[in-house]
Symmetry: C2
């Protein structure tokens, strides 16, 4: 057989491999553990937390479903269901948009704000312990800069890329 002798035609170089594999494995490991700790601490899933924290940063603590989808890099249908669950739990409320009857606004409730603040302690502590703690300030700066350079706009802009 000659298949064993012929290596990949376009194999990753060691640095390509490290930069790619590192991202995949760090992401998988941190998000899995983070999910576990958030659930244990307050019953929020990571996607619940992400949605709530997105709302916290928005003017009026409210955003339309489609804007939420764009900012979270998620498919609109996903937003429908997460908001549905969070609404049942009283953490967000749906509100009609006066200026556009097609649009639905998700508004953070005071209970939602309370809960995201509590979850944030757990969240930040976990991200720091698992991922950030072993890096110096300068290294974190470099890392963020490299990611932004690798995919300009993905990191820095609110919305990228849109589902269109």
């Amino acid at each position: 057989m000659s298949t064993r002798e012929r290596p990949e035609p376009d194999a990753f170089s060691p640095t390509e491999f490290a930069a790619w594999r590192g991202m995949l494995r760090v992401h998988a490991t941190v998000t899995r553990e983070l999910e576990r700790r958030l659930a244990e601490a307050g019953g929020l899933s990571l996607s619940d937390y992400a949605l709530l924290i997105t709302l916290v940063g928005a003017p009026g603590r409210r955003l339309s479903m489609s804007e939420l989808a764009r900012r979270m890099l998620l498919h609109p249908s996903r937003i429908t269901r997460v908001v549905g669950r969070l609404e049942q739990e009283g953490l967000v409320a749906r509100q009609a948009d006066e200026s556009d009857a097609r649009s639905v606004q998700a508004v953070l409730t005071s209970k939602g704000l309370e809960q995201v603040r509590v979850a944030q302690i757990t969240h930040h502590a976990a991200v720091r312990e698992l991922y950030l703690a072993r890096l110096t300030e300068a290294e974190r700066h470099t890392l963020g800069g490299l990611l932004e350079k690798a995919m300009p706009g993905v990191v820095s802009s609110e919305v990228w890329p849109p589902y269109e």
Copy 2:
């Protein structure tokens, strides 16, 4: 209301934020597009590809189910189902382990090898275009090094962390 005035108790610094958000967004964006291109090109999903490429690198192009789970940082039950599907498509075969009757080996078939080689072209091209192309060799080296430093062992070792 005083809630608007009080910011987070332990907010991320700008560098923490960039390093964390960057990873999340780059990962989400690249893997989603990669999944699309792989499916379009040859019908393999990203998890199919990941399993096959893991087998390619193993001695004898074979690995037990549990070893596969450890290397891929996946739950064993996931492996059962992916191997099940790939077996039906003739890309891997299940084989009994002579030295341990509990163990099942997944072996890459020649058809599987063929297909992963084809998929690899698409995969590597996409990862380069979407993620690696805008970085210099030195920057990729730095990026890989920072990820390894952030989570020692996660990037470099085959197996971390185990499901236990």
